[in-house]
């Protein structure tokens, strides 16, 4: 099964998912997921009938350094995209 990775951050207003090829943003995670699905299928990265796992790993540099000493993990999430 294909796995596509994204780095997830928050710029203060929107959630931002990015990797080397794609950068997408939306105010809510649900909207972001919709954009990810649309982009991946439109760009042919997930072909018709294929099921892909999209791994979004939160980039801890979003969290201030002084807080990272207390907790070094925010969250990772997985969404599934059907081509």
């Amino acid at each position: 099964m294909k796995t596509i990775q994204f780095s997830l951050t928050h710029n203060g207003r929107e959630w931002v998912a990015s990797n080397r090829a794609i950068t997408l943003s939306a105010p809510e995670l649900e909207d972001l997921d919709a954009k990810v699905r649309k982009t991946l299928t439109e760009q042919g990265l997930v072909s018709s009938g294929e099921k892909a796992k999209v791994w979004m790993a939160f980039d801890m540099s979003t969290i201030p350094q002084w807080i990272r000493q207390y907790s070094q993990h925010y969250f990772n999430r997985v969404i599934w995209v059907n081509g």
Binding site: Y70, F75, N76, R77, V78
Partner: protein
């Protein structure tokens, strides 16, 4: 970094949590070389009470710091006896090397860390020194030895309070200087390292008590297991009551939004910053929510650290139920640093109080009250990962119902507090030595156990207390009370106040009482040196 987070071993060389384990274990294993007859840790410095005009040798400033090997080394007593105040420099050099290696691996600004660490270390030593003036440390049993007619009876607790005050002055009145120190003001790193060495303390307790009597050794081993189990049970009960209670207070009374209430609920009721961050992630809150709650938690934790040790020592449960007080502390004080520091402070206050109140007929070994405070906290820390995982599933599958999203099980491991591994490893390793080659403290095994003791004491006493001191000072440096006045906190400050003092602390005390009431600390008065 983000892609690597998928692997279970990610962060082993780049996270403070892991570096607390490496530092603690490195010096623990160095201490075990004593079994082979080589003392590599006897240089660790330790303060003793002093006065300006001692009557005789006791209390001279020249002896205010000594290398612990002077007292405990089996093979190099004379060498370490000659170090005296130089042990402060030895300790500085060796711990500087160790912490700088960690800082470099964690890709911190090494120059700034080195400069900040050096200043924090020597400020800590200065506080340790001043705080050990006999006027501050001695109780009524000991003050006459120093030619005093009155003393504060704070034991080593005075040094902790002083270090916190100095840190708070820097953090609140010299903010530029505090900013400069930030790279090295890492209370969580220092306290997690201290907690790993507290594992050495826990494992060493039966060995220490065996040198007094074999029965006491077995009693101490049993007590540590009791603390372990009672701490676990108390924590489970606390989780079930605290979180829903604070969530309801935040939602129903203060009308906070659902996600904010969830993050605040975890921050106040479970484990401060780490819980706030974990819950923020679990409920997919914008990072700013966790950041605001975290800033609040740090400030309130310091207020708890100042208020609760004295309250529990002198009002309730006092010295009648010291382990109830310790466990209640563990459930009340958020952040590992503030909790362990508060437990250690209360340990000093209570031991001095019981000794003074009983005219020396009751003396408790140090560290057991601290251990009871840390044990509940360690369980809380371990449960965070599971709790955040459950919360994430509830949020994703029931509340937000985001189509197509799943919660990876690896989240539990990513949130697991790794320093706990070091804590339990040291404890169980020394217990295995005690029950194995140490033959449960049988007389024929005492020479062997004495060599283990020679290594363990500098770690569980010297290194542990030094890292506690570093924690107190660093906590002060990063605590800016100005944050409480910042407008955007508004309601959250009041939710915290109401939930903490009218709900968390009383309920924690009741739960601690239910699970720890009646547990006794062994009395070692008849074995103590006059």
């Amino acid at each position: 970094m983000t892609q690597d987070q998928r692997r279970w071993y990610t962060g082993m060389l780049t996270q403070e949590d892991w570096w607390a384990v490496w530092l603690g274990l490195a010096f623990f294993f160095l201490s075990l070389v004593n079994i082979a007859g080589i003392d590599l840790v006897g240089w660790i410095t330790y303060p003793t009470s002093w006065v300006f005009s001692p009557e005789g040798k006791k209390g001279a400033i020249s002896g205010a710091f000594y290398a612990l090997g002077k007292k405990y080394s089996v093979t190099a007593k004379d060498f370490y006896a000659g170090l005296g105040w130089w042990s402060v420099i030895w300790t500085y050099v060796i711990f500087t090397i160790a912490t700088c290696i960690g800082a470099a691996c964690m890709k911190w600004n090494l120059k700034r860390f080195f400069a900040g660490w050096t200043i924090i270390y020597f400020l800590t030593i200065a506080c340790w020194f001043v705080g050990h003036h006999a006027f501050i440390t001695a109780n009524k049993m000991k003050m006459h030895k120093y030619g005093l007619n009155f003393a504060l009876s704070l034991g080593g607790g005075g040094s902790f309070i002083l270090a916190l005050i100095v840190g708070l002055i820097i953090g609140n009145f010299f903010k530029g200087f505090a900013e400069f120190l930030t790279e090295a003001a890492k209370p969580e790193w220092y306290i997690k390292t201290a907690i790993v060495t507290l594992g050495v303390k826990l494992g060493y307790l039966p060995i220490k008590m065996s040198s007094m009597s074999q029965h006491l050794g077995k009693q101490a081993a049993g007590l540590t297991f009791d603390l372990f189990l009672a701490g676990c049970m108390a924590t489970i009960v606390a989780y079930m009551i605290f979180w829903p209670g604070v969530y309801i207070i935040a939602r129903k009374i203060f009308k906070l939004p659902r996600k904010t209430a969830a993050v605040l609920g975890s921050g106040i009721s479970i484990c401060g910053v780490s819980a706030a961050v974990a819950t923020g992630g679990a409920v997919r809150a914008r990072p700013v929510v966790s950041i605001m709650v975290s800033a609040l938690v740090v400030v309130w934790a310091v207020i708890e650290l100042v208020v609760l040790p004295g309250l529990f020592t002198h009002v309730w449960p006092t010295t009648n139920d010291p382990l109830v007080a310790g466990a209640a502390m563990g459930m009340s004080v958020k952040t590992d640093g503030a909790d362990a520091a508060a437990g250690e402070l209360m340990d000093e206050l209570m031991r001095n109080k019981i000794e003074a109140d009983s005219n020396g007929k009751v003396q408790w070994p140090s560290g057991i009250i601290t251990s009871s405070a840390v044990m509940t906290k360690v369980w809380i820390d371990m449960f965070i990962g599971i709790w955040a995982f459950v919360l994430a599933m509830v949020w994703v599958y029931k509340i937000d119902r985001v189509p197509g999203e799943t919660v990876p099980a690896s989240e539990v491991w990513h949130r697991f507090p790794k320093f706990v591994l070091g804590y339990f490893f040291c404890w169980l390793f020394l217990l295995a030595i005690y029950f194995g080659p140490g033959k449960s403290g049988a007389p024929e095994a005492m020479p062997f156990l004495k060599s283990v003791k020679a290594g363990a004491v500098p770690i569980e006493k010297g290194m542990r207390k030094l890292f506690f001191m570093l924690t107190f000072l660093s906590l002060g440096v990063i605590t800016d009370f100005q944050k409480l006045r910042e407008a955007q906190f508004g309601k959250m400050v009041w939710v915290y106040f109401v939930a903490l003092f009218l709900f968390i602390v009383p309920v924690a005390a009741i739960i601690a009482y239910l699970f720890h009431h009646g547990m006794q600390i062994p009395n070692i008065a008849q074995y103590a040196k006059p």
